[in-house]
Every structure is written in structure tokens, then in C-alpha cells.
Amino acid sequence: MSTTLFLLGEGFVRQALLAGAVLALLSGLLGPLVVGRGMAFAVHGTSELSFAGGAGALLLFGAGAVGWGALVGAVLVALVFGALGLAAHERDSVIGVLLSFGLGLGVLFQSLYTGRSANKFGLLVGQIVGVDTGDLVSLAVTGVVVVGVLAVAYRPLLFASLDPTMAAARGVPVRALSVAFAVLLGATTALGVQIVGALLVLSLLITPAAAAARLTASPLLATVLAVVFAEVAVLGGIVASLAPGLPISPFVAGIAFVTYLICRVIGSLRTRRRASRTRVPSSSTATSTSSQSALASQSPRPRS
């Protein structure tokens, strides 16, 4: 406890907390859209390529260039994913291909690097000592850009993400927004790679939003909850990691996971209560694809 309090007074810890707070804000804002678009795997792929970019920059230009390398790697690959649009099955295989390639490159760069091993390890599992004043500036710039773009484009982005056919019919540029969203996601992922590490970026971009989705179907409330959950996970994770002197990512991932479990339980209890309250189940014909199967599904079925 006293160790934790002592460390909280240190400048580098304060900087880490500040960086973590910005990262959690961006993750919470983007997370519901990522979940709505079914892009969890794309986030993972982006983070591995961001890792490769960071590792390459570390090898070629030293520790000061890691942030830029991570950003370039993430944005490049995000552009590829964004251009693929929403065709899920094709997208997944391309992500798998790029992800493994990126991971391989990253491992190569790291093996060739002969400097401090903490620099290498940090890209995979996160580090807080790595955040210096320069990083804070790039973090703040990324934060302002992401929030600014969201303020302007949030409604069309939400429309295009959750109801693409209708959005296209209303003249929303679905393709262009897909690319723009991927760039925002890439920039945020690159920050995440430097703070929580490439392996656990998902615990911030997916888990809080997935937890929030269990509690509410309101996009606004889901976003607020996702931000809160992400903040709790990051700030809590950083503080909890101080005394044991362990990497922060297991703590961040652990807190996020427990939040998710709790939300899942609450959500399923609520659904059960709602189901027992409402009238006859009316969804028996909802998903049939033709009138024939609609008729078929109305025929008596044995109930177990």
C-alpha cells in the first residue's frame, strides 16, 4: 500500500495515468462502433501490425521512434481493412494473413534489436515507464483529432455501421466512412500498443463495449458505459500494477474481464425477467427467409 502511494507521487506514474485516461476515453468512444461493425478481429490484426511497426522503428531509429512506427503500421493496415468494407468472411481471412505476417516481422525486428530488453517487451505487454512528455503530446494530438472527427461524423458513422443498407439509400458515403473509421481505429490502437501492449489492446477496445452492450441497446448509454468501464480498467490496472512491479496489461485485462462477466450476468437476468413478463413468443416467424419456411415453422414442434 505504501509502495503504491509512494509511486503515485512520481511524475512518470502521473504521466502514465494521464496517458491511460486518454486512451481509455478513445477506446470507450470507438468500442461500441467496433462491436457494432463486428471488427474485433480487425482490431487484433491492427494491433499486431502496429507492434511490427513499433518494433521496426525501434530497430532502425531507436526508442524515440517507437510511437511513430506503431502509428504508421497501424494506420497502413487499418486502411487495408477499411477498404475491404463490411464483407465479413473475406475480411477475416485477409486479416488472418496480414496479422501473422506482421507478427512474424515484429519478432524478426525484435530479435535483431540489441538494446534494452524492456523496450522490446513493452510493445507486447505494455509499459508505463515508457510514457514521456513527447508521448503525451502525440497522445493529446491523437485524442483531439479522434474526438473531433467523431463529433462531426458520429451520426453517419453509427448509421453506416449498424444499418448499412439503409444508410447507403439515404446517401451516406458508407465506403468512405469505413476507411475513415479504420484510420481512427488505427491511431487509437497505436496508442494502446504503447501503453497496454499489442497483445491486450482488445481488452480496451472490445471488452468494455461488449460489456456495455449487455446492459443497454441505447447507443448513447452504451458509449458512456464503455468509456466508464475502460477508464476503470486502465486507471485501476495501472494503480494495481505499481506495488507488485508487474506489467500493467494483466491487471487491465483482468478488470475488464470481470466487468464483462458482471454485465453478462446482469444482462441475462434481465432478459429472462423480460421474457417471462411478455406475451406469447412472437418471434417464431421472424427469421424465416421465405413464406414457405414461415409456414413450416408454424407447424407444431415437440417441446423439450
Binding site: V152, R155, A168
Partner: protein
């Protein structure tokens, strides 16, 4: 301006080509305010493409199109659109009222912080029109196909359109739900004078409310009232094969058209979905 009030759509000499294929040409059609026009025809005959033209998503190859006296504008709130019934993902993070709200301003840029109260009132009114207030706060993915399609109608009505375009909105609904959706659309056009262009495979669910039919087959077409268009002679000419039209108890049954040799360029030659471009 007088023309704007009474004429919703004017197509003159309209032609649409996709690659080497001409979907239709020489199409002259004027749709009055409050008129219900059903668009019939086999897959790939350019029904959905016609809606894309009216939505301003696709230009004509020749001829002219005007919606309310002006060229079609993307995202115009004067035009409402109802897509095919396709059940939404059960985990779609939207409530019914969010889905309807997206129909109102989902295409607008900016934070949209002003006019929240007015927006809420408009969404409420649209939900009320389709009698969907009971489940407006439930996740859309948890609703039945009929309930989802009511929300789709509300989504199209929320901008207070004077032209409503519907693309196979009855597909995969059972007969009772089909009738409900048709009644909603019919009530809207009677009470508000909204013109309706209703693309459908099946004529019978809309037969009681339809004013005119546009029947498209492989570049050929007929326009007129159901009595004028739905004759054995007409359809035999359209399909270029022996087709018989039989009237049974107020229903129209077409025999022979389903196995008529209708030209297809494969499933991807003509996209059947407005969103897929």
C-alpha cells in the same frame, strides 16, 4: 410550384443500361401525389434499379427523371425508403426509437446537439403512426420480423416524406404481417397524400390498394391499372411465352410466368440491393 404538389415523380424517355444490357428504355411515367404504384417483374428486370434512380444513387443512361420537379437528391427528407425485411442481428445495439431516429438525421454531419426535443417528438410521432410505441425501447434484434418491418416503415415516415419508395418490404413476412405493412403504407398515402412506389414480387397483398402497375420484364414494360395490365395477352407479350392470368376470388394468379425464359446475367450482374454498390 403547382406541379410540385401534384406530381411526385416524372420519368420521361428514361433509359438505364448496365454494361451491355439495357434494363429498360423509353420509360414515361408520371406519378401523382397520393398515388400507389406497384412495380412488378422477375428478378433482374431493374425494379430495384428504378428505386436507386429515384433515390438519386444512380444516374439514368438517357432521358430525364424528376422528383417533386427537381433532379433526385441523395438523402432528401422528402423521400422515404423501406428496405426488404431482413432480420437485424440480435445483438444490434439499437432500440426501435434509435433506428427510427437514424432515418431522420443519421445522414447528417455535425454533433446534432440542437433541436433534441423536436427530434424526440418527430420520432415519437412516427412510432405512433405505425403503432410501435409498445416496443420502441426494446433492442431491435429482439423483435419479430413484423415488428421490425413496422419500425422500418416508421423510419421511412419520420422525415415526413411526400414520396415513399418500398423495395420488397413484404418478403419473408407471413400473410397477416404483410397486410399490416400494406395497410400502414396505404393509410399514410391517403392521410398525407404521399406517393408510393412499391416494388414487389407478389401483387395480391397490395391489389386492394394499388392504383397503377408498372410491369417490367427483360426491357419490356406495361403501365396501367391492374385491370389494364394484368391480362393474359399483355403478360404473354411481356414474357414472350404463353402466360395465363386467372382471377380467383379477388386474387390474380399468373400461370406460366415463373418458368418463362427471363434473361439473367448471373447473380451479380444486377445488384438487387440498394446498399450494394
Amino acid at each position: 410550384m403547382a406541379e410540385d404538389r401534384t406530381t411526385a415523380v416524372t420519368l420521361s424517355g428514361a433509359e438505364l443500361r448496365r454494361g451491355p444490357r439495357t434494363l429498360w428504355s423509353g420509360l414515361d411515367l408520371e406519378i401523382r401525389a397520393g398515388e400507389f404504384v406497384a412495380v412488378l417483374g422477375p428478378n433482374g428486370s431493374g425494379k430495384t434499379t428504378l428505386l436507386q434512380v429515384l433515390l438519386g444513387l444512380l444516374p439514368l443512361s438517357a432521358g430525364s427523371v424528376r422528383v417533386h420537379g427537381a433532379p433526385p437528391a441523395r438523402g432528401s427528407s422528402a423521400v422515404g425508403y423501406v428496405p426488404q425485411q431482413r432480420s437485424l442481428d440480435p445483438l444490434t445495439p439499437l432500440r426501435g426509437r434509435d433506428l427510427v431516429g437514424l432515418g431522420l438525421d443519421g445522414h447528417r454531419w455535425g454533433p446534432g446537439l440542437s433541436g433534441r426535443a423536436r427530434r424526440r417528438a418527430q420520432v415519437h410521432a412516427a412510432l405512433e403512426q405505425v403503432d410501435a410505441l409498445d416496443y420502441a425501447d426494446a433492442p431491435v434484434g429482439s423483435l419479430s420480423g413484423g415488428e421490425q418491418q413496422r419500425l422500418r416503415v416508421a423510419q421511412a415516415l419520420v422525415g415526413d416524406p411526400t414520396l415513399m419508395l418500398a423495395d420488397e418490404p413484404l418478403l419473408s413476412l407471413d400473410l397477416a404481417r404483410q397486410r399490416e405493412v400494406v395497410d400502414l403504407v396505404d393509410r399514410r398515402r391517403r392521410e398525407h397524400g404521399t406517393a408510393v412506389v412499391f416494388v414487389t414480387h407478389e401483387l395480391n397483398p397490395v391489389l386492394p390498394v394499388v392504383d397503377r402497375i408498372l410491369y417490367l420484364v427483360d426491357g419490356r414494360f406495361r403501365i396501367g391499372t391492374p385491370e389494364q395490365v394484368m391480362t393474359s395477352e399483355n403478360l404473354s407479350q411481356l414474357y414472350r411465352t404463353e402466360v395465363e392470368v386467372v382471377r380467383v376470388r379477388g386474387r390474380i394468379v399468373v400461370v406460366g410466368a415463373e418458368d418463362a425464359p427471363v434473361h439473367h446475367d448471373g447473380p451479380h450482374a444486377v445488384r438487387e440491393e440498394v446498399g450494394a454498390r
